[in-house]
């Protein structure tokens, strides 16, 4: 289950390409018709485009084969590319009037596409696309201007991964799932002192955009309002003052270790044995398991007044092109991919947990290993989650890297917390333009 999430840490995705292509698109007169061939015998060809690797290619093709068997008049042509190039290619295809009928879309550019009017309203297909099997809180992630322009294609949730083997070796008890940030601090210091200063309690989450996001929600605040940042310099300062305090006391990793956090589980302080806990999404839990010999457990985020601020995040979403010649058939395929138990069986958990709640519950019963841990975890936190926030405005993805960069300067002592927070707010003002 390796799925990146736009709000995860360090997925350094340059959307420059996408932006450049959209800018170029304005040079071309719009109004080109959509691709897709249509033969006279009632047969329909759908183009389905997604990002991923060869493993995902196999499972996706299996699922599509099942769909085609049920719908003999529909042929599905697929195309795929790795995440970065996929974004560029999709932007070119959409701008060039050749958008695929159905395609995967990432949260980081969802608003931009929706704003351009290239995503079909998925609420109007009735029985072709049934959305009531998906949790409404989760479905909200695909809304734009109160229209359902995308459907989440896999669920993941924030998590703290804990190395229980190492904790046993150090003689420190694992934290309770109901822990607070204060508990985390005390516990982290314990790990630090018991290990003779060699191991920190937790990989410092101060440079992680997603961790700050949860912090905001825990304090009952929002990230964005009306397409503008709703977080303030004071919010950021309170977060950083806390994480910096943890780092200084040894509860969190020191500056030089924090600087190596890059979003790849195998490279993280937890896998290297430099920290006993790590902030991330449960979709990459299996990668952590694969990167270490130690036993790992998953815990909810530390809470504030009982609020964890966690939500079901879409690892990716599916959208139908507003210029598709066969929107109903595309909606049928989408419906199959997010609701059908046969599709769920073929797709596995490579995109996160299956969207349809009922089907997911059935699958959870037969899961083993890390997947079982994730299913159990998701079930245990389901009731405490807040509704998925709508897709962030354009430019949000720039802040991911900015957060890491500026916080690195803060931990290294080059900048005070308030100076860093001020610099970040300036970056946020210029990145979030709409």
């Amino acid at each position: 289950m390796k799925v990146p999430v736009a709000h995860g840490r360090g997925h350094r995705r340059t959307l420059l390409g996408v932006a450049a292509v959209f800018a170029a698109a304005s040079l071309v007169a719009a109004g080109c018709s959509s691709g897709g061939s249509d033969s006279s015998d009632g047969k329909v060809t759908l183009n389905f485009s997604w990002w991923g690797d060869d493993t995902r290619a196999k499972v996706t093709q299996d699922a599509i084969d099942l769909f085609v068997k049920q719908h003999p008049t529909i042929t599905v042509k697929t195309q795929y590319a790795p995440f970065g190039p996929y974004g560029t290619k999709l932007a070119t295809q959409v701008s060039g009037g050749n958008a695929p009928d159905l395609f995967q879309i990432d949260r980081s550019y969802q608003s931009q596409y929706a704003g351009e009017g290239v995503l079909a309203d998925l609420g109007k297909y009735g029985s072709a696309l049934k959305l009531d099997g998906i949790d409404a809180n989760f479905l909200a992630s695909g809304k734009f201007d109160n229209k359902q322009i995308a459907v989440p294609f896999g669920q993941t949730t924030q998590v703290i991964v804990v190395d229980t083997t190492k904790l046993q070796q150090l003689g420190v008890t694992a934290p309770q799932p109901t822990w607070t940030w204060q508990d985390l601090q005390t516990w982290g210091e314990q790990v630090h002192s018991k290990s003779g200063g060699k191991v920190s309690g937790m990989a410092d989450p101060g440079g992680t955009w997603g961790a700050f996001q949860s912090w905001q929600y825990q304090h009952g605040k929002q990230m964005y309002a009306d397409g503008k940042p709703a977080f303030t310099q004071a919010d950021l300062e309170s977060f950083w003052n806390f994480t910096l305090g943890m780092s200084k006391s040894g509860a969190a990793t020191p500056a030089n270790v924090t600087a190596t956090i890059n979003g790849v589980p195998a490279d993280e302080p937890l896998a290297k044995g430099l920290a006993t806990a790590e902030w991330d999404y449960d979709s990459v839990f299996a990668s952590y398991v694969g990167a270490t010999k130690d036993q790992l457990a998953i815990l909810p985020l530390p809470s504030v007044d009982g609020k964890t601020g966690m939500f079901a995040a879409p690892s990716m979403l599916l959208s139908v092109s507003s210029r598709s010649k066969h929107p109903t058939e595309a909606a049928e395929l989408l419906n199959f991919l997010v609701n059908d138990s046969a599709a769920a069986g073929a797709l596995g958990t490579g995109r996160g947990l299956f969207p349809n709640t009922q089907v997911r519950a059935t699958l959870a019963g037969s899961a083993t290993g890390p997947a079982k841990q994730v299913y159990e975890y998701e079930a245990s936190v389901q009731s405490s989650m807040i509704p998925s926030p709508p897709a962030p405005p354009k430019g949000d993805s720039d802040l991911l890297a900015a957060m890491t960069r500026i916080y690195q300067g803060v931990t290294a002592g080059q900048q005070s917390v308030s100076a860093g927070a001020k610099a970040f707010m300036q970056q946020a003002q210029s990145s979030i333009t709409s």
């Binding site: 390796k2 390409g17 450049a20 040079l27 080109c32 995440f83 060039g96």
Partner: protein
């Protein structure tokens, strides 16, 4: 640019070869010179050595060890990379790359040399105006061109075929090579054209029999760089090719990068090694011609 640097580098070697040995680097001890060269070469070659070494490393060793050579070498990466994609082998990607690259070389040599001949040798209206326009197209970033181009090729029904990658080359769209050839052709004495004209040659025969043979070094330089650039071109091949069976080597290599930034580095490097081989061979074969071309061009005696 790189191409002209290569031309002048070859020219330098030829010149240097004529000089008596030992006088090359006056004022610097030979061993120091060699030591410096060796250091620079090590730095430049390091990524290639790393790629080669990694292609023989088992998966666990790729990320865990920093040394460029494998501790427990394995050949496993090669078959794994070759058959890594469902339904298609890497051989298919190489074949596709070869088709596109060779066609691009033929197209560029034909069209750019013809255009260059016109700009360098023929007098026609607006010549002084058109040539700068051709050169100015060099300044347009590819991202600006890609969407209009894509829209055109989509309307022609050529998306998901090799045509968008090949046909433009036959229309002299690579301004860089036109510029290179024009500069080179301007250096060929005009007396040769005049003599040909007296003997009854029209513009096409002058082009074919007089200018083209003498412009061989420029042609070879263009061929080498067109081949390398097309072979390594990722972006336009990614944009225009949709079916996995039509993918070229660079697009095929990108499929090894998986969604979480975890990559099958071993198989990827194995295939990268293989995809460097044709470029290397192409350069090796044509580099000799490049030197010959410089040595034999122009008027003798």
């Amino acid at each position: 640019m790189t191409a002209s640097a290569a031309v002048s580098a070859t020219a330098n070697t030829t010149r240097a070869a004529r000089r008596p040995a030992g006088q090359r680097h006056r004022g610097m001890p030979r061993w120091l010179w060699h030591a410096l060269v060796v250091i620079v070469v090590l730095i430049i070659v390091y990524p290639v050595v790393w790629m080669l070494g990694t292609s023989f490393k088992p998966a666990a060793e790729v990320v865990s060890s920093t040394r460029p050579w494998p501790v427990s070498p394995t050949l496993h990466n090669y078959p794994q990379g070759w058959t890594g994609n469902p339904g298609v082998t890497f051989g298919r990607f190489f074949l596709n790359s070869a088709i596109v690259s060779i066609a691009a070389v033929v197209g560029n040599l034909f069209a750019c040399s013809l255009a260059a001949f016109a700009f360098a040798r023929l007098r026609f209206r607006a010549r002084r105006f058109l040539f700068p326009i051709v050169v100015v197209t060099l300044l347009l970033p590819y991202h600006v061109l890609i969407v209009p181009q894509y829209a055109i090729f989509k309307d022609l029904g050529w998306v998901n075929t090799f045509w968008p990658l090949i046909v433009p080359k036959f229309l002299a769209t690579d301004a860089f090579f036109i510029f290179l050839m024009v500069q080179f052709m301007r250096g060929i004495p005009h007396e040769l054209d005049e003599a040909a004209k007296l003997d009854g040659c029209g513009p096409y025969r002058t082009y074919w029999h007089i200018v083209l043979p003498l412009a061989r070094p420029a042609l070879i330089t263009s061929a080498i760089f067109t081949f390398i650039w097309t072979w390594n071109d990722f972006f336009s091949q990614l944009i225009y090719l949709n079916d996995t069976s039509k993918f070229t080597a660079p697009v095929g290599l990108s499929l090894f990068v998986d969604q979480a930034g975890f990559s099958s580095y071993g198989p990827m490097m194995a295939m990268a090694v293989l995809s460097v081989v044709p470029v290397f061979l192409f350069f090796l074969a044509f580099q000799r011609l490049l030197v010959e071309g410089v040595a034999t061009s122009g008027l003798k005696g």
